[in-house]
Symmetry: C2
Subunit: 260 residues, 2 copies
DNA sequence: GGGCAGACTTGATCTAAATCAAGGTTGCGA
DNA sequence: TCGCAACCTTGATTTAGATCAAGTCTGCCC
């Protein structure tokens, strides 16, 4: 159910995971390759310098804890590469993954003193960390940034509602079809060259993670994916990817149509 | 599954549901009895006048459609009395209620052109309606209001994550226990006299609504509530209320402890 | 105050997905 | 290149909750 032998994002404040030189760092946001797919696209040049100044860049290996359920909510993060999983747990270990944050997505927003969720890297992740006071200064100094964040949180809420529909009312088959299409969309938005992403879904997470995301067991996820493969709706591809052979059929299944 | 023979919140723009006199309306927000439990507590006197000017008050009977899935997102609402249900549906009619908005809660925020969810009154509801351009003006003119809205949406997102944990990983028993405790908390926050709300949960919605909220069937909800009643964990009370006889036990059940 | 519609409860049976139980695959480190 | 650990797949069986099927309760309109 869990697997983090790694360090936390806070473990070594001066450690090697951090970008080493502050002066190089002033340019970081200006030259960031995924800037325009993130919150940061609300910033002008001056704002980008302020962003770079307010944040530190972290490079984290798979299985690293970024945020721990119940710990003080000290920071806000922007994912710039890789995939992060967000989750909540019950005392006996049952876990629900509430979302995956791919490059361009933020995480760690909280109005409470402590985080109500955990976050852990799925693969190799690069992210920008903003400490809370610094984030608050940014919000006050750059109204367009605050407005953009409001829009981003509103979008996350709509996504969460969609996921509630999935968890509460969809069948295993419908859940897995929805997941694969969502991962295709995520890869499409994240991939540098659009061409190569065509009909490919990026699935860097394990079956355990997928099951905990969809409210299923790993066996049911595995069986359902196998069934889709047998029906030639999908095929395996390299690098933890899945090729969607029939988007239309999968869309029908995902939206609850009988069709298959 | 559905039940709205009533008018929509947009049906009669000049109709009787609206507060009749504009000059009385200038004071509306200033004298609002639940102001301090809502977004509006971020406003000074001048701001409250602007709020009153930017919004219209609506009084709606049970079963009225406030927002329709897929319709243009023209307005934002603040509930000031009663309970509203928010939901998403699948083409075949399966429905997931994503939340109940009680007095003091907002609804209708959307970055898309259309609403991705529906909203309908559960009982007699009073709400303030802000058209989109007016809301945007308010956000720009009153930074504290915008900051407060950001905090409110962030809280809604945390709530949604909690509900995903419930939908994906809790048993029927745990779901119903969680629901009853949440309704007790909601009533406690909404009730005028705190005393009378002690250990009472307000449950104005039908079994169908509860089932669609918890990802269960009405039969399972009914059986589970009956079982709690038989175990003397709860008892019926007047006015669609339920008295919680053992908060501690229900808390244990809700959080996944074996205890009962 | 009788009847009826909508909401709720309870019981019997069924089934989708969970659980239990073996293997099979893959990739990495010695 | 061998061995092992983590991950994944497939099959058999069980079960929590769904579905099917009657009732019962409540309040409201005539």
């Amino acid at each position: 159910m869990t697997s983090s032998p790694q360090t936390s994002a806070f473990a070594h404040p001066g450690g090697a995971a951090y970008a080493p030189k502050a002066d190089v760092d002033v340019m970081r946001c200006l030259v960031c390759d995924i800037r325009n797919r993130s919150l940061c696209n609300s910033m002008d040049e001056e704002g980008l310098a302020a962003l770079a100044h307010s944040s530190r860049q972290l490079l984290l290996p798979p299985g690293t804890t970024i945020v721990e359920e119940g710990e003080p909510a000290l920071a806000f993060f922007n994912v710039t590469r890789g995939t992060v999983k967000l989750f909540k747990s019950l005392p006996d270990g049952r876990r629900q993954i509430t979302g995956f944050a791919d490059a361009g997505q933020f995480l760690g927003l909280s109005t409470a003193q402590t985080y109500s969720f955990g976050a852990e890297t799925v693969d190799n992740v690069r992210l920008c960390r903003f400490l809370r006071p610094q984030l608050e200064t940014l919000l006050s100094d750059y109204p367009t940034f605050e407005r953009r964040l409001l829009a981003a949180v509103t979008d996350k809420l709509a996504e969460a509602q969609e996921q509630m529909l999935l968890l509460g009312r969809k069948t295993a088959r419908e859940k897995v079809a929805t997941f694969l299409l969502d991962r295709m969309k995520a890869f499409h938005q994240t991939a540098n060259r659009r061409q190569e992403a065509e009909n490919l879904a990026s699935v860097p997470m394990t079956r355990v993670d997928i099951a905990d995301y969809l409210g299923l067991t790993i066996e049911t996820v595995s069986r359902t994916i196998s069934a889709f493969r047998r029906s030639l709706l999908i095929a395996s591809a390299e690098n933890h990817r899945i090729r969607i052979l029939s988007v239309a059929t999968l869309l029908n299944i995902a939206s609850g149509q009988k069709a298959d």
